[in-house]
Symmetry: C2
Subunit: 426 residues, 2 copies
């Protein structure tokens, strides 16, 4: 189990994971700007980050939000997927470039300027943005910074970028693996608004392992479905969720299945990092629903539990209020007409059986044990800049009707969540 005493110790560990694969460089520069939507006395700070391949590649892929109000970067990115080759991606925080005037034109101006800076075709860059919806990018300020951004790149580490793309994130998130001389490095930004289809989440995966275009796209989709699409901090999927993968194709000899398994493991860890790092998360909750007739039934039930505000608030209070789990199961089963049998299913938390034979097993001693268990799994609420531990509140629902299962991850509902979200823009 990973455990850190302080921020330095955590960041040293992240830096060790952050070495870039062959054929990539990254750079980050700060920027200050005045948004046109607000009269401010002091400018706001933004960070521009860049991932760039030494050589254009045809092996890349991306997955985007299913939200029907996609941000301009998503619309732009979907078109870029048709490119024969790609060179990299520019990322900004603070403003998400969603539903503002001329947002798509702004992206063209920025990516064209990048083309000039790297003496390549002007349509070779993705653009990703995260932050406030509705505000316009400070496009002139960004254009002026692009030469400095191009100058800032280095082939050493993705760590500065992992910090550069943070918004309300509590700590930088990087996961990586070595595979027969090749390397996969993945970095994520995401806090709040995390849900299936990767709500308000940015994910960039870099590898030098040679996987051809169609395979890398299919593998990305499969892995996303089993990792980032199974986490939920609230029930929204954002307008801007994006996951992009690039291969520099410099290392041969890794099979598709080896690559997929390695990526699955990286993304599972990174997805849990994202939950643990959610705005105001004080418990990470892991719900495994097994014994289901179908994986979809298991997923729907798991998500209903993980998204139920009453249950989430109870976990925050270290209150093992299991009635609220059953309530959620019954609610979603009634609404979606999922087959369940309340008389045979069982429910455990932290290994303790709490519901069996159609009734709760409730007594003072068990309740005290569960209360202690929940306290052990808790994280301090203040932003420490590092994850204290990787304990999850483990809940298992066995429907005893079949052999399908699914595991989902989510966070509790804390004062801190409300505070951050009541006051995000001020």
């Amino acid at each position: 189990m990973e455990k850190y005493k302080n921020k330095d110790e955590y960041e040293q560990d992240v830096e060790l994971r952050s070495m870039l694969p062959k054929g990539f460089k990254v750079g980050v520069v700060p920027l200050e700007f005045f948004p046109i939507e607000k009269n401010l006395v002091k400018p706001l700070p933004m960070k521009l980050s860049l991932i760039v391949l030494d050589e254009e590649t045809d092996s890349f892929g991306a997955v985007f939000t299913k939200n029907k109000f996609p941000g301009h970067p998503v619309t732009h990115g979907r078109e870029r997927l048709n490119n024969r080759t790609i060179k990299g991606v520019i990322i900004n925080n603070k403003i998400s470039n969603v539903r503002c005037n001329g947002g798509l034109e702004d992206i063209s101006l920025i990516t064209n300027e990048l083309g000039r800076a790297f003496s390549c075709n002007e349509s070779l860059f993705f653009s990703s943005s995260t932050g406030i919806i509705g505000w316009k990018l400070p496009v002139n300020d960004i254009l002026l910074k692009i030469p400095a951004l191009a100058d800032s790149i280095s082939n050493e580490s993705i760590f500065p970028l992992a910090k550069g793309i943070m918004t309300t994130d509590n700590f930088p998130k990087v996961r990586s693996a070595e595979l027969k001389g090749g390397r996969i490095v993945a970095v994520a930004k995401g806090a709040g608004m995390i849900e299936p289809n990767m709500a308000t989440m940015l994910l960039f995966i870099l590898t030098d392992i040679n996987i051809e275009r169609n395979s890398i796209r299919e593998i990305l989709k499969q892995v996303m479905d089993r990792t980032f699409n199974r986490i939920s901090i609230d029930s929204d999927q954002s307008t801007s969720d994006t996951g992009i993968i690039f291969s520099s194709k410099l290392v041969n000899g890794v099979s598709l299945i080896e690559f997929e398994n390695s990526l699955l493991s990286i993304c599972r860890d990174l997805a849990t990092d994202v939950v643990r790092n959610g705005e105001g998360t004080s418990h990470v909750i892991e719900v495994r629903v097994c014994g289901a007739k179908s994986e979809k039934d298991a997923l729907d039930i798991g998500k209903a539990i993980i998204n139920a505000p009453l249950f989430k608030a109870a976990i925050y209070g270290n209150d093992p209020n299991l009635g609220r789990i059953l309530q959620s199961i019954g609610d979603v089963s009634g609404n979606f007409d999922i087959d369940i049998n309340p008389d045979i299913l069982t429910l455990t938390m932290g290994g303790y059986t709490l519901y069996d034979n159609g009734s709760f097993i409730l007594n003072e001693e068990l309740e005290n044990r569960l209360n202690s268990y929940l306290k052990e799994c808790s994280l301090r609420e203040e932003s420490l800049g590092f994850p204290e531990h990787r304990k999850n509140v483990e809940i298992v629902v066995d429907l005893k009707l079949g052999d399908k299962e699914a595991t989902v991850y989510g966070s509790d509902l804390s004062y801190e969540y409300v505070r951050e979200n009541a006051d995000y823009r001020s």
Copy 2:
């Protein structure tokens, strides 16, 4: 607009509405008990309430939660619907009688005892319970209190019962109407967990207007669909939601449509009372989705907005973060494949247009106005025991694709909500 200065003023007004229809009596008695699930030094207080008809009636109906873990009173109530006649209902707070051992047998013991007390058939009473899930009713204590409960009944007012059935409710809720010498009085308990299908909500409607059995059941269903099933405080529907209607059939001459319209108006007011009274509600949000191709589309979009935690937290903070509304619309439309056109829909809050022609209209002045508007609509968080005003945060989404619409009501997400729900049982 109803506006109250203090609790006394509000309660006087509620008392004026509380006169019982002809042919009904109600009674309330307190009870103290030690739950078997917890070792307590002091007993917990419970209230037993009773609604009883002078004569059995065949004109009654009920609607229940769709939750697949129904409480024992719901299972029992569904059977009672087949009764030729009914005599009344007993209600307790504190324990919901859900998924505990022998809960159905406990109800039989209690309703049998009521039959003896009123010298009638023993299967003539409904039983409703609200409170903690999983705990067992203190059935012996209740049985011992039934003679006193039967003695306590009076034909004057439903007001004591409106207070007796409260749990975390902030104030008693009664609505009534006079109709050609007849009367409808409705009383509700509900706070937290309020959603479509009337989650954790108890509703009792008493009338002396003569409506025959089939009609009263059909009208109850129609009215519920358009009122209580369109409110949401969080996204759960509880295991115990129940709405029961009784007619003593003593007043003739009111048409079905007059009765239905009157009941619709009562239930709409009562449903908004329930939202305003929700645990930690500091704003009541009213979302009208119009211009939809179907009422279902409008309802799905309205509910997605009213259930989005990020949006709810922003409203709590008086932050007009409209991006989060669009995000919810886009999210639900993507997930349920609802047809929307982001380029033509419009969005207003409190009458101010905020999104038009595919873009946000954002500027400092408008944002300040919206901030003031949200402050005007806010309620103090502490439990005052009365609703200060009936202002709602009014949001209109015009999809401009058809002529169908739906309006839903919900609450914001406050610190107080988290506090109450993190710590409900202690």
